[in-house]
């Protein structure tokens, strides 16, 4: 039985709840979970000041209510499952190593930033810097999977090194900025400067996007490795076209101003 948290009312300022992880709740009694420290602004408070808590000693957490102002949920978690029945705040799943997070609503910035494992599925929209590196950090996401059913903000996958990000809706500028590896799938296209300064890695766009002039066209083909991703994405409800009869992927390499060995694969349906 999961530990159920019901938000009494949205906090007036962001609530920093980095203790709210499955690793913690798996070991704690009901009283200890209620007493978990959270920070409202600069003041330390108890978790039950903001949430009604049910259950104990479970590595599953279910959060109800509009947690848009609740930050750092699932930070560094290694196992279990968090389900957010509503929206979630910044830094959801930041640095997570394992387990799964599912959000029914929207999430804010820095979703899964610098995560190294596990999976996050957001049914709504995400803010900027999903899977990205924090400012001053060399590497963003290093493994794991982020799936966003809606759109996403700026700098998705910035400096990511490994792992998979799938965004089914539109993405704003600088997707894959300074990317070092991994794969980003943009099912709903992207705005400007996609892949800027990318060194390695793959950005797949299923819609035509505006390219930087520092990317060079290579060929149109259907790479075999995409079949592996297609199989995985199919289980997440995302279709990756692969059929030669339907079209092919235009391969662009860059960003040559770095110079980079990254690739942009842009699906082009057969006319």
């Amino acid at each position: 039985m999961p530990v159920t948290l019901r938000l009494k009312e949205p906090p007036p300022v962001p609530l920093e709840a980095e203790t709210l992880t499955t690793d913690a709740t798996a070991l704690l009694s009901h009283a200890d979970i209620r007493a978990l420290p959270v920070n409202l602004g600069k003041r330390q408070r108890r978790l039950d000041d903001f949430f009604d808590v049910d259950g104990e000693r479970s590595d599953e957490i279910e959060i109800h209510g509009d947690a848009t102002r609740v930050k750092w949920i699932g930070r560094g978690m290694t196992r279990g499952r968090i389900v957010v029945r509503g929206n979630a705040g910044m830094h959801l799943g930041s640095a997570m190593k394992g387990g799964a997070i599912v959000v029914d609503g929207d999430v804010s910035d820095w979703l899964g930033a610098e995560m190294t494992g596990g999976s996050i599925h957001v049914h709504g929209n995400a803010g900027g810097q999903a899977g990205a590196a924090y400012r001053g950090s060399l590497s963003g996401m290093r493994d794991g999977t982020i799936v966003i059913d809606g759109g996403a903000g700026l700098e998705v996958g910035m400096r990511m090194k490994r792992g998979l990000i799938v965004v089914r809706g539109p993405v704003r500028d600088f997707a894959g900025l300074e990317m070092k590896g991994g794969t980003i799938v943009l099912a709903g296209g992207a705005e400007l400067r996609t892949g800027a300064w990318m060194v390695r890695g793959t950005i797949i766009s299923l819609m035509s996007i505006q390219l930087l002039p520092t990317f060079s066209y290579a060929c149109t083909y259907n790479p075999t490795f995409l079949n592996l991703y297609a199989k995985q994405l199919a289980s997440l409800g995302c279709h990756l076209p692969l059929d030669d009869h339907e079209g092919g992927y235009q391969r662009y390499t860059g960003d040559t101003c770095v110079p980079g060995k990254g690739e942009l694969l842009i699906w082009k349906p057969r006319a």
């Binding site: 083909y221 995985q232 692969l242």
Partner: protein, 298 residues
């Protein structure tokens, strides 16, 4: 013991410890997957002469391959992990990498011992190669002239058994061949085994060493050569009426797979024209795996 009038000799097949790898080859069509698999398993009949024994295990449907394309599963057997690892590199590099549209995946993902065949083969990419890491496994993408060759970085190697066998002693060559073909068809339906010889059948059965040529590792199995019956220097083991012998050799991933294959093969081989079915062994002194024929048919 008799089956369909065929005498089953109360003896056993003697088999040996080996190491095995399973490679799943996929391609744009079943034809090209099988072309690569047939090339990969060519000249791989005996580990003594070919350094590896290999065969096609089964066709794999697109639903069951890693990349959703038609595939063929190949089993390769070697004396040790190092030797098998070298053969994997040679054979994937020369026969799968070069074959149009193919990709190559590990078929033993749970095997703890790993051969880095794909990780070495990537050097063919001359630093134009790239990799993808998905679900804890690394795949190398090597640029080739029809696009990219995708190969898994490591291949699992596990303990296995090689040299399970039985001999079909028949009244004539045609009867021996018909029975052997039936046995091969039945044994190829068993997963986890391959029959490494041409068409799954051996006509040149061998004995260890040679009587007259000291340096020979193996020489003709004179006891089962019909043309040598009656010679004073050849100890024929052939019953009266036997004029042709064919052998089936089977390598398998585990004892159970070989037992199932032997049972299926012997049952299928018991047909008109076959006089006796026996097995090759060295008195139990060389191989620790003994497959008693009567136990297989019990």
């Amino acid at each position: 013991m008799t089956r369909n009038g065929v005498t089953i000799v109360d003896t056993f097949a003697e088999a040996f410890d080996m190491r095995a790898a399973r490679v799943v080859i996929t391609a744009a069509s079943p034809k090209w997957a099988r072309t690569a698999a047939e090339c990969m398993t060519g000249f791989a009949t005996s580990v003594i002469g070919c350094k590896v024994e290999a065969g096609i295990e089964t066709d794999v449907s697109p639903e069951d391959t890693p990349d959703g394309r038609p595939g063929v599963s190949v089993l390769l057997f070697g004396f040790d992990a190092k030797g098998l690892s070298d053969r994997l590199l040679d054979r994937i590099g020369q026969t799968v990498l070069t074959c149009a549209t193919t990709a190559c995946f590990d078929g033993l993902p749970d095997a703890p011992e790993r051969a880095a065949a794909g990780g070495l083969l990537r050097h063919f990419g001359d630093r134009f190669q790239s990799s993808k890491f998905l679900d804890g496994r690394r795949y190398w993408r090597i640029p080739v002239m029809d696009g990219e060759f995708l190969v898994q970085e490591t291949f699992g190697i596990q303990k296995a058994i090689g040299g399970g066998n039985f001999l079909i002693l028949a009244s004539d060559q045609a009867s021996a061949l018909t029975a052997a073909e039936a046995a091969v068809d039945a044994m190829r339906a068993v997963r986890g085994v391959v029959l490494p010889f041409p068409g799954g059948i051996v006509r040149a059965g061998s004995k260890v060493g040679a009587r007259r040529y000291k340096k020979m590792i193996a020489s003709t199995n004179d006891a089962y050569c019909p043309t040598l019956r009656g010679r004073s220097d050849a100890m024929s083991a052939l019953p009266d009426g036997v004029n042709a012998v064919l052998e089936i050799v089977v390598d398998g991933l585990d004892r159970g797979a070989i037992e199932r294959a032997l049972a299926a093969g012997i049952h299928a081989a018991c047909r008109a024209g076959v006089i006796e079915i026996t097995a090759g062994n060295y008195g139990g002194k060389l191989g620790k795996h003994h497959f008693h024929l009567h136990a297989r048919l019990a």
